[in-house]
Symmetry: C2
Subunit: 249 residues, 2 copies
């Protein structure tokens, strides 16, 4: 059973799987996953997002999608966003978007595996995975089961955060998964009152962290209240402030 190829997998041709992780919660993994997918779409590529944050899924809300995925005998069909990004998330199966999923590790890992094996992803250039915080069940399952091209690491400037993000980088190294790049999010905010750049969580440590870990540094993202508002209203695909993030490097 474990080795058998599911019918959905025969219908899927995926160019590359990339997981977005950090170890630390709330640094902007979902946001970066969303921006990377939107960036790919704008370059005319086919992108999908597997929301692997099973108990804290925020991808569907960011993209304004809510209908329940259709289940066929050959597999589960992902939900397509307005600009054509295919999305699969456990939140799409919930009665209410704020209903909790109260599962333990084995069931959570199983859900991620089913999203990989039983969803008909079709032809994609990239499948992005939005990982939950931590270096536990989901990160292990994804790194052991999926043919990952690599991971993209998201951090924010606090030392406390850097300490935990390094755990994720060490995990990737231990499991022989390449780290494609490091992004520092919430790096600063531009004050609407006086236009000064305020380093809300302290001085930037992104470049120095990337250098010390021998990883490409993909740059700093500011906190942009307009972007937060778009995410809250399901319109991340309307963000137009230029895409500093691009997988096609």
């Amino acid at each position: 059973e474990a080795g058998a190829v599911k019918p959905a997998m025969e219908l899927s041709r995926i160019g590359g799987c990339v997981a977005v992780m950090s170890g630390k919660g709330g640094v902007g993994k979902s946001l970066v996953t969303g921006l990377l997918a939107v960036g790919l779409r704008r370059q005319g590529r086919k992108a999908g997002i597997l929301d692997a944050d099973i108990t804290g899924p925020s991808i569907p809300k960011m993209f304004g999608v809510g209908e329940r995925p259709a289940t066929k005998d050959f597999g589960i069909l992902p939900v397509r966003s307005r600009s054509g990004i295919d999305i699969m998330s456990l939140n799409l199966f919930m009665e209410n978007e704020d209903d909790p999923v109260i599962w333990r590790g084995p069931m959570i890992s199983n859900a991620v595996r089913q999203f990989w094996e039983e969803v008909v992803w079709g032809d994609l250039d990239y499948l992005l995975l939005d990982l939950p915080p931590g270096t536990a069940d989901v990160a292990l399952t994804v790194m052991q089961v999926l043919p990952l091209k690599g991971v993209v690491i998201v951090m924010s400037p606090q030392d406390l955060t850097v300490m935990i993000v390094k755990k994720a980088i060490k995990m990737a190294d231990m499991l022989k998964i390449p780290v494609l790049g490091l992004i520092e999010n919430m790096s600063y905010i531009v004050c609407p009152g006086c236009n000064e750049e305020v380093e809300v969580f302290g001085p930037s440590r992104g470049a120095e962290t990337a250098a010390s870990q021998n990883i490409p540094f993909w740059g700093r993202l500011p906190i942009d209240p307009a972007l937060a508002a778009l995410c809250d209203s399901g319109r991340i695909e309307d963000y137009d402030d230029g895409f500093p993030l691009s997988l096609a490097r």
Copy 2:
């Protein structure tokens, strides 16, 4: 075995256990846990912190403690912070603070259970638990095994965050654990350039969320770069900007 009282438990008399949770990562659960413990200490009470975020433990670094806990035949001794808060965290057992713990759910739950049953907490007015993000293994174990007085919920203003925080509140309700209060963290920042209050993640939704969930609202915490710097340098106990947070209500 499961029912047997461990020797450490006979040596512990804990007035009340309170868990700090949110469902969402990075909203400030560890920070709020730390501030609550420091506030209790300043009121002359005895406080302990059980860092239940096994794969993302940040409590020891916030308090500047690092020595390895002593293990006796009757139990594990917690590490005491400068102002007298007793701390137990898996990070205190790691060779390096940025080494990952790559465990699955059952081992993680077991570690939390051991911190509860095998640590000699002694006489405490409050034992605070810093929960990881999510509504999975640790939240379930803590709510099913410990005699919780209640949970304190931490949110930040984004709608996306509120959706996931409501999952945690619903989980507490389903497991019949009282919600003691709701705190909105990262509510705004005061610009150092022009003193204007900037709502970085959008307008405050704390009071409205508390009212809709029928929970006491404990107020709004701003992002304070000075506080982030103190946490990064292990000196949260030196924060002196007044304590809006107090468990003794």
